[in-house]
Symmetry: C3
Subunit: 135 residues, 3 copies
Protein backbone atom coordinates (compact mmCIF):
# COMPACT_ATOMS: atom_id res chain seq x y z
CA UNK A 1 0.00 0.00 0.00
CA UNK A 2 1.24 3.47 -0.93
CA UNK A 3 -0.37 6.70 0.17
CA UNK A 4 0.86 10.21 -0.56
CA UNK A 5 -0.82 13.10 1.25
CA UNK A 6 0.15 16.66 2.03
CA UNK A 7 -0.72 19.42 4.43
CA UNK A 8 0.09 23.12 4.71
CA UNK A 9 1.56 25.08 7.56
CA UNK A 10 1.84 28.80 8.06
CA UNK A 11 5.02 30.08 9.65
CA UNK A 12 5.10 33.37 11.53
CA UNK A 13 8.72 34.45 11.68
CA UNK A 14 11.80 34.42 9.46
CA UNK A 15 13.23 31.52 11.46
CA UNK A 16 11.01 29.13 13.33
CA UNK A 17 10.79 25.45 14.23
CA UNK A 18 7.28 23.95 14.21
CA UNK A 19 6.43 20.52 15.65
CA UNK A 20 4.45 18.61 12.99
CA UNK A 21 4.48 15.17 14.66
CA UNK A 22 0.69 15.04 15.18
CA UNK A 23 -0.02 15.98 11.56
CA UNK A 24 2.20 13.16 10.30
CA UNK A 25 0.77 10.69 12.84
CA UNK A 26 -2.76 11.44 11.60
CA UNK A 27 -1.77 10.47 8.06
CA UNK A 28 -0.13 7.25 9.28
CA UNK A 29 -3.30 6.38 11.24
CA UNK A 30 -5.48 7.14 8.22
CA UNK A 31 -3.36 4.79 6.08
CA UNK A 32 -4.19 1.92 8.49
CA UNK A 33 -0.86 0.21 7.81
CA UNK A 34 0.66 -1.86 10.61
CA UNK A 35 4.30 -1.96 9.55
CA UNK A 36 6.10 0.13 7.02
CA UNK A 37 8.02 3.22 6.09
CA UNK A 38 6.99 6.89 6.30
CA UNK A 39 8.95 9.53 4.38
CA UNK A 40 8.21 13.21 5.03
CA UNK A 41 9.41 15.70 2.42
CA UNK A 42 9.33 19.49 2.02
CA UNK A 43 9.25 20.85 -1.55
CA UNK A 44 11.10 24.02 -0.51
CA UNK A 45 14.72 25.13 -0.72
CA UNK A 46 14.79 27.46 2.30
CA UNK A 47 13.14 25.14 4.82
CA UNK A 48 14.06 21.73 6.24
CA UNK A 49 12.89 18.78 8.33
CA UNK A 50 14.59 17.21 11.31
CA UNK A 51 13.80 14.92 14.22
CA UNK A 52 14.81 16.30 17.60
CA UNK A 53 13.61 17.09 21.11
CA UNK A 54 10.06 18.39 21.29
CA UNK A 55 9.85 18.72 25.08
CA UNK A 56 11.99 21.71 26.08
CA UNK A 57 11.42 24.57 23.57
CA UNK A 58 14.91 25.91 24.32
CA UNK A 59 16.39 23.10 22.16
CA UNK A 60 14.59 24.54 19.12
CA UNK A 61 15.88 28.02 19.99
CA UNK A 62 19.47 26.75 20.36
CA UNK A 63 19.30 25.02 16.97
CA UNK A 64 18.18 28.24 15.26
CA UNK A 65 20.58 30.47 17.21
CA UNK A 66 23.69 28.39 16.59
CA UNK A 67 22.84 27.87 12.91
CA UNK A 68 22.46 31.66 12.61
CA UNK A 69 25.85 32.12 14.27
CA UNK A 70 27.54 29.68 11.86
CA UNK A 71 25.68 31.08 8.84
CA UNK A 72 24.77 34.74 9.37
CA UNK A 73 21.99 36.19 7.23
CA UNK A 74 24.36 38.79 5.76
CA UNK A 75 27.79 37.47 4.89
CA UNK A 76 28.82 38.50 1.34
CA UNK A 77 26.83 35.80 -0.36
CA UNK A 78 26.84 35.54 -4.16
CA UNK A 79 23.07 34.84 -4.28
CA UNK A 80 21.35 38.22 -4.27
CA UNK A 81 17.97 37.42 -2.74
CA UNK A 82 19.06 37.84 0.89
CA UNK A 83 18.25 34.23 1.79
CA UNK A 84 21.43 32.36 0.96
CA UNK A 85 21.87 31.45 4.64
CA UNK A 86 18.45 29.78 4.46
CA UNK A 87 19.43 27.70 1.40
CA UNK A 88 22.62 26.47 3.07
CA UNK A 89 20.83 25.61 6.34
CA UNK A 90 18.26 23.68 4.30
CA UNK A 91 21.01 21.49 2.82
CA UNK A 92 22.75 21.02 6.18
CA UNK A 93 19.58 19.90 7.99
CA UNK A 94 18.02 18.15 4.98
CA UNK A 95 14.63 18.37 3.34
CA UNK A 96 13.25 14.95 4.29
CA UNK A 97 13.08 12.55 7.21
CA UNK A 98 12.48 8.79 7.10
CA UNK A 99 10.52 7.09 9.86
CA UNK A 100 9.44 3.55 10.63
CA UNK A 101 5.87 2.44 11.39
CA UNK A 102 5.37 -0.48 13.77
CA UNK A 103 2.15 -1.66 15.50
CA UNK A 104 0.31 1.01 13.47
CA UNK A 105 2.23 3.95 14.97
CA UNK A 106 5.35 5.95 14.15
CA UNK A 107 8.47 4.65 15.91
CA UNK A 108 9.77 7.67 17.85
CA UNK A 109 12.00 7.89 20.91
CA UNK A 110 10.63 9.38 24.13
CA UNK A 111 11.88 12.88 23.32
CA UNK A 112 11.64 12.81 19.54
CA UNK A 113 9.31 14.96 17.50
CA UNK A 114 9.20 15.72 13.78
CA UNK A 115 10.23 19.35 13.38
CA UNK A 116 9.62 21.63 10.40
CA UNK A 117 12.41 24.21 10.16
CA UNK A 118 11.54 27.55 8.58
CA UNK A 119 14.62 29.55 7.57
CA UNK A 120 13.07 32.21 5.31
CA UNK A 121 9.57 32.96 6.55
CA UNK A 122 6.99 33.92 7.30
CA UNK A 123 5.46 31.82 4.54
CA UNK A 124 2.79 29.31 3.70
CA UNK A 125 4.63 25.96 3.42
CA UNK A 126 3.73 22.48 2.20
CA UNK A 127 4.68 19.14 3.77
CA UNK A 128 4.32 15.91 1.77
CA UNK A 129 4.00 12.53 3.47
CA UNK A 130 4.46 9.10 1.88
CA UNK A 131 3.34 5.97 3.73
CA UNK A 132 4.55 2.69 2.25
CA UNK A 133 3.80 -0.88 3.27
CA UNK A 134 3.46 -4.32 1.70
CA UNK A 135 0.01 -4.79 3.24
Amino acid sequence: MIMIEFFSIKTNRREEIVDITKRVEEIVLKSKIKEGLCVVFVPHTTAALTINENADPSVKRDILDKLAKLLPMNDNYAHSEGNSDAHIKSSLIGNSVSLLVKDSVLVLGTWQGILFCEFDGPRERKVIVLVLSNE
Copy 2:
Protein backbone atom coordinates in the same frame (compact mmCIF):
# COMPACT_ATOMS: atom_id res chain seq x y z
CA MET B 1 8.35 -3.26 -8.26
CA ILE B 2 11.96 -2.55 -7.36
CA MET B 3 14.53 -1.21 -9.77
CA ILE B 4 18.14 -0.34 -8.97
CA GLU B 5 20.18 1.47 -11.63
CA PHE B 6 23.30 3.58 -11.60
CA PHE B 7 25.03 6.19 -13.69
CA SER B 8 28.45 7.84 -13.66
CA ILE B 9 29.39 11.48 -13.60
CA LYS B 10 32.73 13.14 -14.14
CA THR B 11 33.53 16.12 -11.95
CA ASN B 12 35.98 18.78 -13.09
CA ARG B 13 37.10 20.60 -9.97
CA ARG B 14 37.96 19.80 -6.35
CA GLU B 15 34.63 21.25 -5.21
CA GLU B 16 31.66 21.34 -7.51
CA ILE B 17 27.89 20.94 -7.41
CA VAL B 18 26.34 19.14 -10.40
CA ASP B 19 22.59 19.06 -11.11
CA ILE B 20 21.61 15.41 -11.70
CA THR B 21 17.81 15.84 -11.67
CA LYS B 22 17.34 14.84 -15.31
CA ARG B 23 19.42 11.67 -14.91
CA VAL B 24 17.31 10.56 -11.95
CA GLU B 25 14.06 11.52 -13.72
CA GLU B 26 15.02 9.32 -16.70
CA ILE B 27 15.35 6.30 -14.40
CA VAL B 28 11.99 7.02 -12.77
CA LEU B 29 10.36 7.30 -16.22
CA LYS B 30 12.01 4.06 -17.33
CA SER B 31 10.62 2.26 -14.25
CA LYS B 32 7.07 3.20 -15.36
CA ILE B 33 5.85 3.37 -11.75
CA LYS B 34 3.01 5.76 -10.95
CA GLU B 35 3.45 6.19 -7.21
CA GLY B 36 6.35 5.28 -5.02
CA LEU B 37 9.66 6.11 -3.47
CA CYS B 38 12.99 7.01 -5.09
CA VAL B 39 16.20 6.85 -3.06
CA VAL B 40 19.40 8.24 -4.59
CA PHE B 41 22.68 7.14 -2.99
CA VAL B 42 26.38 7.89 -3.57
CA PRO B 43 28.87 5.14 -2.64
CA HIS B 44 31.56 7.71 -1.85
CA THR B 45 32.84 9.23 1.41
CA THR B 46 34.02 12.59 0.04
CA ALA B 47 30.91 13.48 -1.95
CA ALA B 48 27.25 14.05 -1.01
CA LEU B 49 23.73 14.56 -2.32
CA THR B 50 21.32 17.35 -1.51
CA ILE B 51 18.14 18.92 -2.86
CA ASN B 52 18.33 22.68 -3.31
CA GLU B 53 17.81 25.52 -5.77
CA ASN B 54 18.83 24.72 -9.33
CA ALA B 55 17.84 28.07 -10.87
CA ASP B 56 20.41 30.65 -9.72
CA PRO B 57 23.92 29.07 -9.86
CA SER B 58 25.07 31.46 -7.12
CA VAL B 59 23.25 29.29 -4.55
CA LYS B 60 25.55 26.37 -5.41
CA ARG B 61 28.57 28.67 -5.10
CA ASP B 62 27.42 29.97 -1.71
CA ILE B 63 26.93 26.41 -0.40
CA LEU B 64 30.49 25.45 -1.40
CA ASP B 65 32.04 28.74 -0.22
CA LYS B 66 30.45 28.75 3.22
CA LEU B 67 31.16 25.05 3.80
CA ALA B 68 34.81 25.77 2.91
CA LYS B 69 34.83 28.65 5.38
CA LEU B 70 33.42 26.46 8.19
CA LEU B 71 35.68 23.52 7.28
CA PRO B 72 38.90 24.74 5.63
CA MET B 73 40.88 22.24 3.55
CA ASN B 74 43.92 22.62 5.81
CA ASP B 75 43.11 22.77 9.50
CA ASN B 76 45.33 20.37 11.51
CA TYR B 77 43.30 17.31 10.69
CA ALA B 78 44.36 13.88 12.04
CA HIS B 79 43.56 12.17 8.70
CA SER B 80 46.67 12.56 6.55
CA GLU B 81 45.25 12.36 3.04
CA GLY B 82 44.44 16.06 2.74
CA ASN B 83 40.72 15.48 2.29
CA SER B 84 39.36 15.39 5.82
CA ASP B 85 37.30 18.51 5.12
CA ALA B 86 35.61 16.55 2.30
CA HIS B 87 34.74 13.62 4.60
CA ILE B 88 33.17 15.94 7.18
CA LYS B 89 31.17 17.86 4.56
CA SER B 90 29.94 14.52 3.21
CA SER B 91 28.51 13.61 6.62
CA LEU B 92 27.00 17.07 7.15
CA ILE B 93 25.19 17.13 3.80
CA GLY B 94 24.50 13.39 3.68
CA ASN B 95 25.11 10.73 1.05
CA SER B 96 21.53 10.02 0.03
CA VAL B 97 18.25 11.80 -0.73
CA SER B 98 14.74 10.35 -0.62
CA LEU B 99 12.12 11.53 -3.08
CA LEU B 100 8.48 10.73 -3.78
CA VAL B 101 7.02 9.71 -7.12
CA LYS B 102 3.45 10.73 -7.93
CA ASP B 103 1.61 10.65 -11.27
CA SER B 104 4.73 8.98 -12.74
CA VAL B 105 7.06 11.92 -11.97
CA LEU B 106 9.36 12.97 -9.14
CA VAL B 107 7.69 15.32 -6.65
CA LEU B 108 9.92 18.41 -6.61
CA GLY B 109 9.17 21.99 -5.64
CA THR B 110 9.43 24.74 -8.26
CA TRP B 111 13.04 25.56 -7.40
CA GLN B 112 14.24 22.14 -6.31
CA GLY B 113 16.86 20.10 -8.13
CA ILE B 114 18.84 17.02 -7.08
CA LEU B 115 22.42 18.15 -6.60
CA PHE B 116 25.55 16.01 -6.54
CA CYS B 117 28.19 17.61 -4.30
CA GLU B 118 31.82 16.90 -5.12
CA PHE B 119 34.18 17.76 -2.27
CA ASP B 120 37.38 15.99 -3.37
CA GLY B 121 37.48 15.98 -7.16
CA PRO B 122 38.03 15.97 -9.98
CA ARG B 123 36.93 12.33 -10.08
CA GLU B 124 34.73 9.83 -11.86
CA ARG B 125 31.76 9.27 -9.49
CA LYS B 126 28.87 6.83 -9.32
CA VAL B 127 25.24 7.56 -8.41
CA ILE B 128 22.88 4.69 -7.53
CA VAL B 129 19.09 5.07 -7.83
CA LEU B 130 16.43 2.83 -6.30
CA VAL B 131 12.81 3.10 -7.43
CA LEU B 132 10.29 1.28 -5.26
CA SER B 133 6.56 0.81 -5.70
CA ASN B 134 3.85 -1.72 -4.92
CA GLU B 135 2.73 -1.79 -8.53
Copy 3:
Protein backbone atom coordinates in the same frame (compact mmCIF):
# COMPACT_ATOMS: atom_id res chain seq x y z
CA MET C 1 8.49 -8.26 2.83
CA ILE C 2 8.97 -5.91 5.77
CA MET C 3 11.16 -6.65 8.76
CA ILE C 4 11.86 -4.31 11.66
CA GLU C 5 14.55 -5.33 14.14
CA PHE C 6 16.66 -3.48 16.66
CA PHE C 7 19.90 -3.89 18.55
CA SER C 8 21.58 -2.07 21.42
CA ILE C 9 25.03 -0.58 21.67
CA LYS C 10 26.93 0.73 24.67
CA THR C 11 29.03 3.81 24.15
CA ASN C 12 32.02 4.54 26.37
CA ARG C 13 32.73 8.25 26.01
CA ARG C 14 30.79 11.50 25.71
CA GLU C 15 31.61 11.66 22.01
CA GLU C 16 32.34 8.55 20.03
CA ILE C 17 31.76 7.08 16.58
CA VAL C 18 31.01 3.35 16.46
CA ASP C 19 31.02 1.29 13.25
CA ILE C 20 27.74 -0.69 13.16
CA THR C 21 27.99 -1.98 9.57
CA LYS C 22 28.25 -5.65 10.55
CA ARG C 23 25.22 -5.45 12.86
CA VAL C 24 23.09 -3.98 10.07
CA GLU C 25 24.44 -6.49 7.52
CA GLU C 26 23.43 -9.38 9.79
CA ILE C 27 19.82 -8.15 9.82
CA VAL C 28 19.80 -7.77 6.03
CA LEU C 29 21.16 -11.33 5.65
CA LYS C 30 18.55 -12.65 8.11
CA SER C 31 15.77 -11.01 6.07
CA LYS C 32 16.87 -13.04 3.02
CA ILE C 33 15.74 -10.31 0.61
CA LYS C 34 17.60 -9.97 -2.68
CA GLU C 35 16.75 -6.39 -3.63
CA GLY C 36 15.27 -3.65 -1.54
CA LEU C 37 15.68 -0.78 0.85
CA CYS C 38 17.22 -0.66 4.32
CA VAL C 39 16.52 2.28 6.63
CA VAL C 40 18.50 2.56 9.89
CA PHE C 41 17.07 4.88 12.56
CA VAL C 42 18.13 5.98 16.05
CA PRO C 43 15.34 6.93 18.49
CA HIS C 44 17.60 9.42 20.27
CA THR C 45 17.98 13.20 20.09
CA THR C 46 21.67 13.46 21.08
CA ALA C 47 23.03 10.78 18.74
CA ALA C 48 23.09 10.39 14.95
CA LEU C 49 23.86 8.08 12.05
CA THR C 50 26.10 8.70 9.08
CA ILE C 51 27.89 6.79 6.34
CA ASN C 52 31.59 7.58 6.05
CA GLU C 53 35.07 6.09 5.93
CA ASN C 54 35.59 3.11 8.22
CA ALA C 55 39.22 2.37 7.28
CA ASP C 56 41.36 5.13 8.83
CA PRO C 57 40.08 5.86 12.39
CA SER C 58 41.42 9.41 12.13
CA VAL C 59 38.44 10.32 9.91
CA LYS C 60 36.11 9.57 12.83
CA ARG C 61 38.28 11.67 15.13
CA ASP C 62 38.29 14.60 12.68
CA ILE C 63 34.49 14.50 12.38
CA LEU C 64 34.08 14.69 16.17
CA ASP C 65 36.84 17.30 16.63
CA LYS C 66 35.61 19.70 13.98
CA LEU C 67 31.98 19.37 15.07
CA ALA C 68 33.11 20.19 18.62
CA LYS C 69 34.98 23.23 17.31
CA LEU C 70 31.91 24.50 15.42
CA LEU C 71 29.57 23.68 18.33
CA PRO C 72 31.42 23.83 21.66
CA MET C 73 29.85 22.00 24.61
CA ASN C 74 29.58 25.25 26.57
CA ASP C 75 28.42 28.24 24.55
CA ASN C 76 25.60 30.10 26.29
CA TYR C 77 22.89 27.71 25.20
CA ALA C 78 19.29 28.28 26.29
CA HIS C 79 18.74 24.56 26.99
CA SER C 80 19.96 23.95 30.53
CA GLU C 81 20.91 20.27 30.45
CA GLY C 82 24.47 20.81 29.20
CA ASN C 83 23.92 18.81 26.01
CA SER C 84 22.58 21.38 23.56
CA ASP C 85 25.65 20.91 21.37
CA ALA C 86 24.70 17.21 21.11
CA HIS C 87 21.12 18.04 20.02
CA ILE C 88 22.36 20.39 17.28
CA LYS C 89 24.97 17.90 16.02
CA SER C 90 22.23 15.25 15.90
CA SER C 91 20.15 17.44 13.55
CA LEU C 92 23.18 18.36 11.40
CA ILE C 93 24.28 14.74 10.88
CA GLY C 94 20.77 13.27 10.92
CA ASN C 95 19.19 10.39 12.82
CA SER C 96 18.69 7.93 9.96
CA VAL C 97 20.48 6.57 6.90
CA SER C 98 18.93 4.91 3.87
CA LEU C 99 20.75 2.10 2.08
CA LEU C 100 20.07 -0.11 -0.92
CA VAL C 101 20.18 -3.91 -0.94
CA LYS C 102 21.26 -5.66 -4.14
CA ASP C 103 22.25 -9.32 -4.68
CA SER C 104 21.32 -9.92 -1.02
CA VAL C 105 23.91 -7.48 0.39
CA LEU C 106 24.05 -3.82 1.36
CA VAL C 107 25.32 -1.57 -1.42
CA LEU C 108 28.32 0.23 0.10
CA GLY C 109 31.32 1.87 -1.51
CA THR C 110 34.82 0.49 -0.83
CA TRP C 111 35.45 2.87 2.07
CA GLN C 112 31.91 3.24 3.39
CA GLY C 113 30.73 2.03 6.77
CA ILE C 114 27.57 2.79 8.75
CA LEU C 115 28.63 4.91 11.71
CA PHE C 116 26.72 5.50 14.94
CA CYS C 117 27.59 8.94 16.35
CA GLU C 118 27.35 9.37 20.11
CA PHE C 119 27.31 13.03 21.15
CA ASP C 120 26.16 12.75 24.79
CA GLY C 121 27.45 9.46 26.18
CA PRO C 122 28.40 7.19 27.65
CA ARG C 123 24.98 5.59 27.29
CA GLU C 124 23.11 2.48 26.28
CA ARG C 125 21.67 3.25 22.83
CA LYS C 126 19.18 1.60 20.49
CA VAL C 127 19.40 1.23 16.71
CA ILE C 128 16.32 0.25 14.69
CA VAL C 129 16.60 -1.34 11.24
CA LEU C 130 13.88 -1.67 8.63
CA VAL C 131 14.34 -3.96 5.63
CA LEU C 132 11.77 -3.56 2.86
CA SER C 133 11.33 -5.51 -0.36
CA ASN C 134 8.58 -6.57 -2.72
CA GLU C 135 9.68 -10.21 -2.49
